[in-house]
Amino acid sequence: MGAPGLAFDGILGAALLWTAWQAIHAAGLFRAVVSFMVFGLLMALAWVRLEAPDIALAEAAIGAGITGALLLSALGRLDWEAGRATDECLRGRDRAFWVPTGLLLLAGLGGAAWLLPAPGLGEPVAAELGRSGVENPVTAVLLNFRAWDTLLEIAILLLGVVALWSLGPTPWPSSPELVSPALPMLGRVLFPAFVLVSAYLLWRGSHAPGGAFPAGAVMGAGGVLMLMAGARPWLSGDVHGPWRWALALGMVAMLGVAFAVMTGGHGFFEYPVELAGRLILLLELAAGLSIALLLFALYLGGEPPADWETRRPA
């Protein structure tokens, strides 16, 4: 690593601490949210430094991108007066409690974590990688060794959409007032790029950092950008529309494959070795598509109307 690397890590760590602190204690919610988004972007750098490029991709697209968009759109909907009633943090209160507690935690947890031998599972994963159907170990863990986790994770995304939609209708207009003709242009120009990058990430996933989650996140972020640029969302809350199936696609496909392999005398989620690669690619396609739609649906913040046209302000 060397001295330059260490200096870089030091600066990065200090910046992370500063932005995290600002995200919670900065004056004004807008500053807090922007600090948090910067925190997310810097975290992506930290993941790269820790040799986790897969997470860096996901963090940049989801942690900073989608979460940031979600936070800003929630902020736009907040009534300022309602927010102000309980505005700033209770500064300086309970310092007698928090300073010693913080130091104690820092020493205790830091010490405990320092003592960890961290045996890790790198070797067993490497040993079984040949039978997993893919070459990228992270994809092998996500979609083969621990595929049940991934199924539940996509289920949670779908559940999040259901929960959010059950709370009420989507606010409209969902995009800020247009201040520039350049933004719709940007949306039009960039959307093909978003599709291309997603496809590229999906294809890369089998042998290098990438895969369904970053790909879906990039695609979903593209959709959010289109919405911000004033595009009409085509995702409708229509009970009979095909969109609900498209949203559920990833979860249904994973459940389908998990049960389908059982017909061949295998266990739940036990892919036949010769088919594993193709099955994983199939699942990645379904999951990536549905993750993109689900993240977009989360951004809508509520149940979309059955027909957008009727809601459109003249």
């Binding site: 520039s180 350049a182 940007l186």
Partner: protein, 99 residues
């Protein structure tokens, strides 16, 4: 050190200098419009030089093309972003410095 290494290094360091100047402008200029005058432009040049420098340093054509694609996307995004900020500021009635 090879020739590509030297050229790549020079380009990258030059790019960083441009970024530094842009950031200096961001910190020192009095209002949002003058800051927009300084930062995006300097950043675009700086990032372009860094991308080009890294591409030359790597000696791989495909990597250079990818880096240039990154630069191109950033150009579009920065231009639109700067325009949006300026328009939003105007609409909110923030008057340019000195007027």
């Amino acid at each position: 050190m090879s020739l590509t290494g030297v050229i790549g290094g020079i380009l990258t360091v030059g790019g960083v200098l441009f970024l530094l100047l842009g950031t200096l402008g961001l910190l020192r200029f009095p209002d949002v419009y003058t800051r927009l005058h300084a930062q995006p432009k300097a950043d675009n040049i700086g990032l372009g030089m860094i991308c080009l420098g890294l591409g030359v340093y790597s000696g791989s054509l495909s990597l250079t093309l990818k880096l240039l694609l990154v630069w191109l996307l950033m150009l579009v995004a920065t231009a639109v972003g700067a325009g949006l900020i300026a328009r939003a500021a105007l609409r909110r009635g923030i008057r340019p410095w000195g007027l």
